[in-house]
């Protein structure tokens, strides 16, 4: 987990020069172009972007994105709520910690593809397959990080605040919130990463709509530019969610650490 956060910090470090990032982007494009020339089946950048524009024009892009986002948010919200309850229990009670930690370690080890295939067999081609997969692949990450956040509450500071009669709302805002913010955001971030992966797989195997299904549609039609166009969308969504939304929130919430 520290690896990821250092990753973020490095990416957004004050020293980060825009030049280096531009150079990196150019290198990625150059590598892609090289792959186009060397590998005979890799579609070019312009072809993929062209295909993406066509997808947007015929309405498939927004339609499938909206459908998938609907399922994603539903499953993720369920995972966050259930995971927060179990995680807080684990953080507060030694008994719950012992009871759940081994089960959760096992759940962490299960790859999302197994959930996707199992839910496809269980629920068939409906909305339940992607939603349950999103829920199950996000849940263990939420549990682990919320338990960590709960344990990070400085009990002695809370006790001292109570002894000095500090109002509850101030204790929450100034002692509890800063302590739990980092791990809570990590919970959301890991849940998003893992659940998004699960969503794509579930829609690939067991859905007739959504972004994963659309990517498979192009793959099955052997039109790799269509598939690559959707991969671009996946990566873009990830960068937006992680670097542009969660990243700044995390920096704001943990700003007291770096001072």
């Amino acid at each position: 987990m520290t690896v990821i956060s250092s990753w973020q910090h490095q990416l957004r470090a004050r020293g980060t020069s825009a030049g280096a990032v531009t150079a990196a982007l150019l290198s990625i494009l150059a590598a892609w172009q090289l792959a186009v020339i060397v590998g005979n089946r890799v579609p070019s950048v312009t072809d993929s972007i062209q295909r993406l524009i066509t997808e947007a024009e015929i309405g498939e892009l927004w339609h499938n994105l909206a459908l998938s986002m609907n399922r994603f948010v539903l499953g993720l919200a369920a995972a966050l709520i259930v995971g927060a309850v179990i995680g807080v229990l684990m953080g507060l009670s030694r008994l719950a910690d012992l009871a759940f930690s081994d089960l959760n370690a096992a759940a962490l080890a299960i790859p999302a593809v197994i959930w996707a295939l199992l839910t496809t067999m269980w629920f068939g081609f409906g909305w339940l397959t992607p939603v349950v997969t999103v829920f199950l692949s996000g849940l263990p990450f939420v549990v682990v990080n919320i338990a960590k956040a709960t344990r990070a509450v400085p009990a002695d500071l809370v006790l001292m605040a109570r002894a000095f009669g500090v109002p509850r709302i101030r204790v929450l805002r100034e002692i509890v919130a800063p302590a739990v913010a980092g791990s809570t955001i990590a919970a959301v971030r890991f849940a998003i990463m893992s659940a998004w992966n699960g969503l794509l797989l579930a829609e690939w195997f067991g859905a007739t709509s959504g972004v994963g299904w659309r990517a498979r549609y192009w793959y099955d039609a052997n039109q790799l530019d269509g598939f690559l166009a959707w991969v671009l969308v996946f990566i873009l969504l990830l960068v937006v969610a992680d670097l542009l939304i969660l990243g700044p929130i995390e920096r704001y919430a943990t700003r007291w650490r770096s001072v």
């Binding site: 690896v3 009670s93 670097l243």
Partner: protein
């Protein structure tokens, strides 16, 4: 409130052993009892659900246990896990070579650090699906796809950790080495190597968990052997019990390897008390 907030402290026994020594005994004693009974409860809930559904779509724990036994006895388990682990090991060797070079460059140069950050972020966070499909498209159903995919997945974790390790090297020691004109190999051997091993280990442990999942996924999409291939076979034959049996084996193997790596780490860093 007082009780509930104060309780978690007993969890971090190692943090202040003297004051908590009294509570340590009984807690230790309960550990296996509690986690064992939680496991039994979960299995009982599963069995009850299976009895209620009463359909091959949700097999009983006993049925899955028999399937696990059958797989292990037939030798399929060992054979397929061996091929999968061999592919991951080959991929990790590649990732280690690349990660050392990139990580070293990132640790030493601010520009290269910023330069590699975006590509590594994309590599480390790309959905497994895209890796699996590209692996299949470019390398076909052979061993090449899973090997390259696990290398690409593990690379960012190793590179980031190597960079962190290089940064942790004491600058004063480096300056002293220069002042006393130590050879380059000496600096690498005695200064960088001990600093890097801890960080590399952390990268390997985390990278392994990620790499194995994506490697299995690649095998689901296209392979002729390996755990992922067996999972796909179970799916195509619509055998839920077979799939659950392989899942159970997957979890067991993952936990065993994780434990093994942790033990190795303890052994390696026994001389560094503050880490172990």
């Amino acid at each position: 409130m007082t009780q509930t907030v104060a309780l978690p402290d007993t969890g971090s026994v190692a943090a202040n052993p003297p004051s908590r020594r009294r509570s340590r005994g009984p807690v230790r004693h309960n550990r296996w009892l509690v986690s064992g009974s939680a496991l039994v409860l979960a299995l009982a809930a599963w069995a009850a659900l299976a009895a209620w559904v009463d359909d091959p779509i949700l097999p009983t724990p006993v049925g899955v246990g028999e399937q696990v036994y059958a797989i292990v006895v037939s030798g399929e388990a060992v054979a397929n896990f061996a091929t999968s682990i061999a592919k991951i090991a080959a991929g990790f060797a590649l990732a280690m070579a690349g990660g050392l070079v990139i990580g070293f460059a990132m640790g030493r140069s601010r520009f290269l650090n910023a330069y590699f950050s975006l590509p590594l972020f994309v590599l480390g966070n790309m959905p497994g699906l895209t890796y699996a499909v590209f692996g299949l498209l470019i390398f076909g159903v052979g061993a090449g796809g899973p090997i390259v995919v696990s290398a690409l997945v593990a690379l960012p974790f190793i590179a980031m950790n190597v960079a962190e390790g290089v940064r942790s090297v004491d600058g004063n020691l480096l300056a002293m080495c220069q002042a006393f004109e130590r050879r380059r190999s000496d600096i690498l051997r005695h200064l960088y190597l001990p600093a890097l091993t801890t960080f590399v280990f952390a990268g390997v442990r985390y990278g392994f968990a990620m790499a194995w999942k994506v490697e299995a996924l690649t095998e689901v999409f296209g392979a002729s052997s390996g755990v992922g291939f067996m999972i796909r076979k179970a799916y195509q034959e619509f055998r839920v019990d077979d799939m659950l049996a392989w899942t159970a084996l997957f979890i067991i193997a993952m936990v065993l390897i994780e434990r093994g790596l942790a033990a190795l780490e303890n052994r390696f860093f026994a001389w560094r008390k503050e880490i172990a």
